[in-house]
């Protein structure tokens, strides 16, 4: 493996042999400093991406396993017992294991894939390249950010192998369930691993986020004013701000949970009689945890979706050969989302006994956040209007993103209205809503980004045909899986039910559940095809031969095809215009580095 990597890099550096005056080229780089403890933002981006992909496979596999149970509750799968032993005795998934799977599926995908894997990859790759900086403000902190994430990953992964199993109280880990080992197997040691893993993860997010903010604010190249930044950078800036302000609140929440678990405090515990015993804890509030959790939890969904909004805007404008419509409106709507994201958390708590007046305030703010989202959708549609659209795999994923974002966003208007939420809260309708709007569509945005910037990352293209197959199967599959779940929710079927046969009200979806499971397996297999395409193309993909293969205006395409540490040979280019001069004055595109011409029209 290491040999291939070396030769690979050597061939790669032929392109810029002349780079002797290169700022960082004199570093004597060993394998360890280059590939493991690298401080090059591009390498760290790849580390985040590869780790994210591995986590996505694990998290996705969990969903396939519990879908087997949901789709075919009467069948046994002996192979499960082979792999999971007592957790799947007789080839059937036990309830404890089922909940462990759903919990880890949620935790892994929300935090490790769609937060670290997504922001970690694209913030690291794009911020220095698109603002014109040689690296992050603090490459050291950047490296630590990855390694804390890695350490958190190891701890979380380890929890899968302990005797009592990993955390199993849902990814929201509400106490008292998560606080009391008597309440569930997963609330024993697995919960401590979860907390420790998340604590490391949060440290990683803070290192990363502060770095991204500092870099964007301070290290833009000459002429790169804030209003000339590509929307990707704006999106990543708001994402980082959200993360830095909200992750510490989750940390405080889980530390108090740790105290309740081991030090006999009563932050979240009160009046509990469990396993034949009355606990001494009094005066705590289980609801307090939910406030702390959702104070991160809600911004978290924007931490996931904002970067993809930026990626999609960029990919869409480039491939429509047209400027993004309403640049400033896009920036302000992201700003609006960023501010409102902090003021809507209690819409997850309408039925907890929350004061109805307080609830009404959250209804108002929640539905308000639909306005900037609507603006963005209409702006994307207008960007496509009268364009000259190239359907690269990245562009298809961007279009798919908008479709899914509309579908999932609109169901948010149901759930954000507390009156309807009383009925639909914690039903399959919620599952359908958030999987479409922040699960699948975030993945679509991420895929758009990967297909689009893969040539910049590895100097090769991914295979297009596989990309098209990947897109079409995933789009159709995503709708087939999640669209019908709205109906299950409208039947009142609660989420997290593994066997509905004993219920009169919820047992009518047997064949539907089986269909969803079959499609899930298929879609998962196609994702493996993507993973194959990804790794195969790193070594064997078609070579990139032109510096700017997509005809883009932004700075990352002014670097060498395989940029070294430091990105540009010689001077960092100066910027003279915004990032979206496509189709202006009859020209296909005008790079940001080109000075404004005398006769150029203004806009």
């Amino acid at each position: 493996m290491s040999d291939t990597l070396h030769t690979h890099q050597e061939t790669a550096s032929i392109g810029h042999h002349a780079a002797d005056h290169h700022v960082h080229a004199h570093h004597k780089e060993t394998f360890i400093t280059k590939y493991i403890f690298s401080q090059d933002h591009k390498m760290i981006a790849k580390q985040f991406l590869v780790t994210g992909i591995i986590w996505a496979i694990i998290g996705g596999l969990f969903s396939v396993l519990f879908r087997l149970q949901l789709g075919f509750p009467d069948q046994t799968f002996p192979i499960l017992e082979t792999f999971f032993g007592k957790w799947a005795e007789g080839g059937r998934i036990k309830p404890e294991f089922y909940y462990a799977l759903t919990t880890m599926h949620g935790t892994v995908l929300v935090f490790f894939v769609l937060t670290a894997g997504l922001s970690g990859t694209f913030a690291n790759l794009l911020i220095p390249l698109q603002i014109g900086a040689r690296d992050m403000a603090s490459p050291m902190m950047n490296m630590l950010s990855y390694w804390f994430f890695f350490a958190g990953s190891v701890v979380m992964l380890a929890s899968l192998f302990i005797e009592t199993g990993p955390a199993s109280g849902g990814w929201t880990i509400y106490p008292p369930l998560s606080a009391l080992g008597q309440a569930s197997e997963g609330s024993k040691a697995g919960m401590d691993y979860w907390i420790a893993g998340m604590a490391l993860f949060i440290i990683s997010q803070l290192f990363g986020g502060l770095n991204y903010i500092a870099t964007i604010l301070n290290m833009r190249t000459k002429g790169m004013s804030m209003t000339r930044l590509p929307l990707t950078i704006w999106a990543l800036l708001f994402t980082a701000i959200l993360g830095v302000l909200s992750f510490p609140v989750l940390l405080s929440g889980v530390v108090l949970l740790l105290f309740d678990r081991h030090l006999g405090t009563s932050f979240y515990l009160s009046d509990i009689f469990i396993a034949g015993q009355a606990l001494p804890n009094e005066g705590g509030s289980a609801i307090l945890f939910q406030h702390l959790f959702w104070f991160l939890g809600h911004p978290e969904v924007y931490i996931i979706i904002l970067p993809t909004m930026g990626l999609v805007s960029e990919v869409m404008s480039i491939n429509a050969r047209k400027p993004i419509f309403g640049y400033m409106a896009m920036v302000f709507s992201m700003f609006g989302i960023c501010v409102l994201a902090f003021l809507v958390w209690a819409h997850h708590m309408f039925v907890t006994g929350l004061n109805p007046f307080l609830g009404s305030v959250f209804v108002l703010l929640t539905l308000l956040i639909a306005v900037p989202s609507a603006i963005k959708v209409f702006n994307w549609l207008t960007t496509l209007w009268r364009g000259n659209i190239r359907f690269t795999p990245a562009m298809l994923f961007a279009i798919g993103f908008v479709s899914l974002f509309i579908s999932g966003g609109l169901t948010g208007i149901f759930l954000g209205n507390s009156t309807i939420d009383i009925h639909l809260h914690d039903t399959m309708f919620v599952i359908a809503h958030f999987h479409i709007v922040m699960g699948v569509s975030a993945f679509f945005g991420m895929f758009a980004g990967i297909y689009h910037w893969f040539p910049k990352m590895f100097g090769r293209y991914m295979n297009n045909t596989l990309g098209y197959i990947h897109f079409w199967v995933t789009l159709v599959g995503a709708y087939l899986i999640f669209w019908p779940m709205h109906y299950q929710g409208l039947a009142g079927m609660p989420r997290r039910y593994l066997d509905k046969s004993s219920w009169v009200s919820f047992s009518q979806f047997h064949s539907l559940d089986a269909m969803i499971t079959v499609v899930t397996v298929l879609v998962f297999a196609i994702q493996l095809l993507f993973v194959f395409n990804f790794f195969y193309s790193i070594y064997k993909g078609r070579r990139v031969r032109s510096q700017n293969p997509w005809g883009a205006t932004t700075l990352e395409w002014t670097t060498p095809i395989r940029p070294g540490h430091g990105n540009w040979e010689g001077e960092i280019p100066e910027v003279h215009r915004w990032a979206y001069d496509y189709g202006k004055d009859g020209r296909d595109f005008i790079p940001q580095t080109e000075p404004i011409g005398e006769k150029e029209s203004s806009h």
Binding site: P95, S270, I287, I413, A491, R542
Partner: protein, 350 residues
């Protein structure tokens, strides 16, 4: 064997797809990459249009096959449920309209403005009027939805009417227990430290409080009177549960240490629902809606909605928990005094 075959098929499919994909890449190099690119551009544009039509048909088809399996609009069995259904309808109309318009535009534009040799993209960076339009219109529509929603919300969460009956419902892993206040209409005091199942006191009632003496405790089903408002006092003994009442369109969490309430008026009896749904097994179910541990799925309760006479008849057969837990166990010698005590309580309540 089955699994093995499946794996083999998947792997084969995988290899074939990969080989085809590689071959197309070579073909594209021979054919000229630009030509291949334009070809696949056209194919994908057409596919996007086809996806639009198939998708729209899929929306219809999903409704056709699944529409009968949901709780249909207008079948709510409580007064609050009717409001929830109305709100659902308004929201469905507003969002449905937006859904169809935006999805059609998205895929139509993608198809219509696919790359053409002679097409010049239109340089259109912004337009204040348009942007204003789609800021203000969604804001107005949302304001209307918020207004309706909040009116209903305050009606639903407002104080229960004076004549509402009270029933306490307590969740614990993984069952529901119900307590009726008895003749005095007051739920006596309880404390979780008094819980003692061996002494038939699973709710921790404090016998020193005479108001507990006529309280009736039951493991279900919960009996309610049709047309009479009822206020549920909801609590939990261990972890958070949630009282989900799909046919009444209602839900409220059961939080240990923090009692919550929920009131509504059942409008249909169980018998009526059996007739309406044509399902002779129909029963109002209480579904735990908050993840509460390994037995979450099995945490099922039942409600019987009946007429006042039927309710009274049933109630007459119930024994107060005090009688079960304390009086029936006392020495026969003490029996007479206990009987006197019960009689005197009954007198007080008259």
């Amino acid at each position: 064997m089955h699994t093995f075959l499946l794996v083999v098929i998947l792997v084969l499919g995988f290899i074939i797809t990969v080989q085809i994909a590689r071959a197309t890449e070579f073909v594209s190099i021979i054919q000229g990459e630009e030509k291949t690119r334009k070809q696949s551009n056209r194919i994908n544009a057409v596919l996007l249009l086809i996806f639009l039509f198939v998708g729209l048909f899929g929306v219809y088809w999903a409704h056709h096959t699944l529409g009968d399996k949901i709780l249909k609009l207008g079948t709510a069995a409580s007064d609050h449920g009717i409001k929830v259904d109305k709100m659902l309808t308004y929201t469905l109309i507003a969002t449905g309209l937006v859904f169809f318009v935006t999805q059609i535009l998205l895929f139509w534009y993608s198809f219509r403005y696919q790359e053409r040799e002679n097409r010049k993209p239109y340089f259109f960076p912004h337009n204040n009027k348009l942007e204003m339009l789609w800021t203000v219109v969604p804001a107005i529509v949302l304001t209307i939805l918020i207004a309706f929603g909040l009116v209903y919300w305050f009606q639903i969460t407002g104080p229960a009417p004076e004549n509402a009956a009270t029933v306490e419902i307590t969740g614990s892993q993984f069952k529901w227990e119900f307590r009726y206040p008895g003749k005095d209409g007051v739920l006596g005091k309880k404390n979780y430290k008094y819980i003692d199942e061996s002494q038939d006191n699973s709710l921790g009632l404090i016998w020193d409080d005479v108001a507990t003496h006529d309280d009736i405790v039951s493991g279900g089903p919960l009996h309610l009177v049709v047309g009479k408002p009822v206020k549920l006092v909801i609590g939990s003994k261990d972890v958070i549960h949630s009282v989900g009442l799909p046919h009444f369109r209602l839900k409220m969490d059961a939080v240990p240490g923090t009692p919550t309430t929920l009131w509504f008026t059942p409008l249909k009896t169980t018998k009526q629902m059996i007739e309406e749904t044509g399902n002779e097994n129909f029963v109002f179910e209480i579904a735990c809606d908050q993840m509460c541990g390994a037995g979450h799925t099995a945490m099922r309760g039942e409600i019987i909605v009946e007429t006042q006479e039927e309710y009274d008849q049933w109630m007459a057969t119930q024994k107060p928990q005090y009688q079960i837990a304390v009086l029936d166990k006392q020495e026969p010698a003490a029996d007479s005094t206990a009987a006197v005590a019960v009689a005197s309580i009954a007198d007080e309540n008259k």
